[in-house]
Every structure is written in structure tokens, then in C-alpha cells.
């Protein structure tokens, strides 16, 4: 069971945002779409979420013809870059939204929704903040509300658009570790978009490096570092190594390399 994307292409007017992208990722993997701005990574994520439509191509996810499903039937939890919280609703209403708009037959009772919301608030460590409005929260808290809202619909996959883009460095670090832990607990297929090489390499177990609407290389971080497939990948990752220095990445290596090479062979 896996996510299989086959030669997906998309044009905006005359600009080709995606020029035939193919990739395979096992269910439950934590994948980063990494690339400079304009590389098509967000477009691919939005196509997966059903918010944009591919001109050609095919996507299969766990046996479902993914592109033929309308966005509202995909149950793809989407976390937006600016969070897109419903500003006129409390945090609790935001999180419960996906459950409360279900058709009457499948809609949980009010008490059941309230219970789920409480659970999710605990999961994202926002206990007691259910009555606040989004405007009364910090950036990191909003981020976690957006995540809880996406998780409430029991999504088949989780899609995150630049999940840490709008946060300051300290919060970003904390949230990153927390998100990694959450993924290990829930085991949801998670795909996130980032332009930050360090973030992609540290967090994901599979990184797709994108450039000008194409995938340059898709591999586990260790493999990517060891043998970049194209000059672009080498250059793009090289910047990461230069910026952050070799040392912190080496100190991380022993803990994560074994797990990641395992994933890499699994993918290959």
C-alpha cells in the first residue's frame, strides 16, 4: 500500500508549474517536498489536497483513484502556511468543524464532538484554550490548532504547506521535534513542503528535491547527502551544509542514520 504519483503535470496560463512528476512513497512515510520557490512543490501538495487540478497524470493512494475524488471526499488533512483558521470561530469550533459539517447520518453527537475536541486539544498541548479565538493565540499555538483541526477528520494523509515558515527559530525547532514525535505515534502518511534543506533532512524519512517543476531526486536524507543525483541537488544541499556547518549534522547522524537507511532500502 502506498502513494503512487505518475507523471502529473500542471500549467498556469503559460507557466508550467509541474512538468510530469512521478514518485512513490510507502504509506505511513514522512516525506518532504524540498525546493526553491517556483519549483512546483506547493502546486504538487495542493493537487494532492484537491485544491488544484492536474492537467494530466494519475495518483493512486491506497488503492483509491485519488484525483477523481473531490477535495471534500479525500479526507486529506491540509495545514495551510498561514493556518487559515476560521477567525470567527473559537479554537474548539475550529477543531470540531470537520465533524460538525458532516451529513446528519454520519455526524457524531454534540457531546461526542466535544469529547474529540478535548482529546485533540490535549494531543496538541493546548488544554484549556478551546474558548479562545485564533486572534488571541501565538503563531505556534495557531499552527497546532490548524494541525488539530486537520487531524479531527481522521485524515487519510496529512499535507503541510511550509509548516514552520511563519514561526521564529526557537518555536520552529520545538515544533519540529514535536511533529516528528507525533508522526511516529500516529503513523499517518505525511507530506510537507519546505524550502529549508536542514528542516527537510532532519525531519523527513524521504525527501523529494524539486526544481523547475520536476523531481531531481527522491531518496532518504542519508542517501541524498551521500550521493546527490544531479549537480542541482548537490548545490542545493551544499548550501545547507555550508549554512549550518558540518558539525551539528554529524552529531545527529548516528541516531537517525540506521532508521533512515532502513527506510531508503524499503523505498528502493
Amino acid at each position: 500500500m502506498s502513494l503512487v504519483i505518475e507523471s502529473v503535470a500542471k500549467k498556469f496560463d503559460r507557466f508550467a508549474a509541474l512538468k510530469g512528476v512521478s514518485l512513490t512513497a510507502p504509506t505511513g512515510s514522512f516525506m518532504a517536498l524540498l525546493g526553491p520557490s517556483g519549483s512546483g512543490k506547493t502546486t504538487l501538495l495542493r493537487i494532492l489536497g484537491g485544491l488544484e487540478f492536474a492537467d494530466v497524470g494519475h495518483i493512486d493512494f491506497e488503492g483509491l483513484d485519488w484525483l477523481s475524488l473531490p477535495a471534500r471526499e479525500r479526507r486529506a488533512g491540509f495545514v495551510f502556511q498561514q493556518y487559515a483558521l476560521f477567525r470567527h470561530m473559537t479554537v474548539a469550533k475550529n477543531i470540531g468543524f470537520g465533524l460538525s459539517i458532516r451529513p446528519r447520518k454520519t455526524r457524531p453527537t454534540r457531546a461526542e464532538i466535544a469529547r474529540r475536541v478535548e482529546e485533540l486539544l490535549t494531543l496538541v498541548q493546548l488544554d484549556g484554550l478551546g474558548g479562545r479565538f485564533p486572534s488571541q493565540l501565538s503563531g505556534g499555538q495557531r499552527q497546532r490548532v490548524a494541525l488539530a483541526r486537520a487531524l479531527a477528520i481522521e485524515p487519510r494523509m496529512l499535507l503541510l504547506d511550509e509548516p514552520f515558515g511563519a514561526l521564529d527559530a526557537k518555536v520552529r525547532k520545538d515544533l519540529r521535534h514535536w511533529l516528528r514525535g507525533l508522526h511516529e505515534r500516529l503513523g499517518l502518511t505525511t507530506i510537507f513542503v519546505t524550502h529549508d534543506q536542514e528542516e527537510a533532512l532532519e525531519l523527513a524519512d524521504l525527501v523529494a528535491v524539486m526544481n523547475q517543476g520536476q523531481i531531481e531526486q527522491i531518496a532518504a536524507p542519508a542517501e541524498l547527502r551521500a550521493s546527490p543525483a544531479t549537480p542541482f541537488v548537490a548545490d542545493f544541499l551544499g548550501q545547507a551544509l555550508d549554512n549550518t556547518g558540518i558539525v551539528p549534522i554529524r552529531t545527529m547522524a548516528p541516531k537517525q542514520s540506521s532508521q533512515r537507511t532502513g527506510d531508503a532500502s524499503h523505498v528502493a
Binding site: 491540509f78 487559515a84 470567527h88 468543524f97 483541526r149
Partner: protein, 285 residues
């Protein structure tokens, strides 16, 4: 010591400047807003409450009041829907000719209402393009209710759309996309996400639209035909009475119009005051 006790603001101006500016602003308001309003009411009541009251109960006046309310009751909801639809498609979709559409929406603001009225006469009048066909089918538009409603809709069209477009453009599509990705249908997205986010701007636009719809003179004057007790709205009735030297009646009806406007403004202020918190949350005013 004194300076410490009375900290100065960085934008400190000479006290005289402040007083002079305030005096000019207040003087202007009194001269051009309060005085005319006051004089309307005082003229209406010049010969006592009874005379003013009788002028309002006179059959032609009653007919004019009823017609004005009826026209507003049709034109305002229609423009609420049109304005919402126009703002929606401008703010949430990208398409060719978007700027042209925005310009079109502004036409009623830039075109003289009289010209607008003449256009309707030209299209629907007896000598107009559709005149023959309308007469053959016994449909009356000009010099009847439909013409007055059309002219009013035309003149008041921009109010709702203009109020909504900047807000909806500013809010973007993110929340709607979020709602859809959470499984919401088009209707529940509209009623549970879009509408609550724009309700205050919408209400404000509708109130302005209503005030203008009841007060419109130029365009309605051209298409109404001034048939007393039949196609005269309140503003037209005021003119007729005034030209007949019936000052008390004219000012009594004018007072009623002014009163309707004041009620509109009070309603708006009241709502703003009552829901100040929510207004701040939706990022408006």
C-alpha cells in the same frame, strides 16, 4: 519637574493648532450637516405637530411612503444578492476582464442618475427599443413600479459590492479551501465560513444601499412619470409638494425621510457597539 509630570507626545502640535482644526471641523459639520437637518424638522413643525401629522396621513403621501418602502424592499435584497455574487467572483476567482468588471460596478457612481433614468426610458419606453414589444404584450415598465425598481437597483448597485470586495480580497480563499478540505460542501462553506466573515461589511453595505434606495431622486424622477398617488416615491412627493408651495407637507415628508436615514445610522452604530469584539476579530473597522 513639570515636563516629567506632563509627558509630551512625539507628535505634539501647538495647542492653538489643535483648537483651530477642531473648530473648523466642528463648524463645518454644524453648518453643512446639523443645520440643514434641524431646519428640515423645524420647518415641518412650524405650524405644530397636527399639521405635520396630517400632511403625512394625506392619501398621496401615504401612497408615496408605501411605494418607497416597497421599492426598497425589492431593490435592496436584489442588490444584496447581486453585490454578494459580484464581490464573490471578483475576490475568489481569477479571470480575464476582472478589472473591467470592477469598472462596470462603479458606473452607477460615476454616471449621473438622470442619465441612468433616461437609459431605461430609451430601452423600455414607448418610443424605445423594446417599446412596441412591451406594449403588444401589455407589460408596463416605464412610468410604473418595475421601472422605478430597475432605476433604483441600478443606482444603488455598487454599495454592497464596493463594501465587500476589499474585505473579501483581503481575506483570500484560504478559509474556504480549508473548509472544503475538511469535507464541507459548497453551501456549508458559504453559510458557515464565508458569510460569517463578511456579515458586518454586508450589513453595512445593505444599510447604505437601503438609505440610498429610499432617497434616490434623479433616476427615479425620469422613469416614474410623477403620477400622484401612484408612481411618486417620497423624494418625488417632497418635490411636488414643495413646488406647490405646501411647505409644511414637503418638510414633513422630508423629515420622515431624514428620520429613516437616522434610524439606519443608529442601527449601524448600535450593532457596531454591541458586537465590537467580533468586529475586531473579523478584522474590520
Amino acid at each position: 519637574m513639570k515636563d516629567i509630570l506632563h509627558p509630551r507626545a512625539a507628535t505634539d502640535d501647538h495647542p492653538l493648532t489643535k483648537i483651530a482644526l477642531s473648530a473648523i471641523a466642528i463648524g463645518f459639520l454644524i453648518l453643512f450637516l446639523f443645520m440643514p437637518l434641524l431646519s428640515v424638522f423645524s420647518e415641518a413643525l412650524a405650524q405644530g405637530w397636527r399639521m405635520a401629522w396630517d400632511a403625512l396621513r394625506e392619501p398621496d403621501a401615504v401612497a408615496a411612503i408605501k411605494l418607497t418602502l416597497l421599492v426598497a424592499a425589492i431593490a435592496v435584497p436584489a442588490n444584496m444578492v447581486f453585490g454578494l455574487a459580484a464581490a464573490w467572483c471578483i475576490a475568489k476567482f481569477d479571470f480575464r476582464g476582472k478589472h473591467f468588471l470592477i469598472t462596470l460596478i462603479d458606473i452607477p457612481f460615476s454616471v449621473s442618475p438622470v442619465v441612468a433614468g433616461l437609459v431605461f426610458v430609451l430601452i423600455f419606453g414607448l418610443q424605445g427599443w423594446m417599446g412596441q414589444w412591451l406594449r403588444d404584450n401589455d407589460i408596463k415598465i416605464v412610468f410604473a413600479l418595475p421601472g422605478i425598481v430597475l432605476a433604483t437597483i441600478f443606482v444603488t448597485f455598487p454599495f454592497v459590492a464596493r463594501e465587500l470586495i476589499p474585505l473579501m480580497v483581503d481575506q483570500g480563499r484560504d478559509e474556504e479551501e480549508a473548509a472544503v478540505s475538511l469535507g464541507a460542501s459548497g453551501w456549508s462553506t458559504f453559510f458557515r465560513v464565508t458569510l460569517p466573515n463578511i456579515k458586518w461589511a454586508l450589513l453595512y453595505g445593505v444599510l447604505l444601499c437601503n438609505a440610498r434606495a429610499m432617497g434616490e431622486f434623479g433616476a427615479v424622477s425620469v422613469v416614474s412619470g410623477h403620477i400622484r398617488g401612484l408612481t411618486n416615491t417620497m423624494p418625488l412627493h417632497v418635490e411636488v409638494l414643495y413646488n406647490d408651495y405646501q411647505y409644511v407637507g414637503a418638510f414633513a415628508v422630508a423629515s420622515l425621510l431624514a428620520l429613516l436615514a437616522l434610524v439606519t445610522l443608529t442601527l449601524k452604530s448600535l450593532l457596531e457597539w454591541r458586537f465590537a469584539g467580533e468586529l475586531a476579530a473579523s478584522g474590520r473597522h
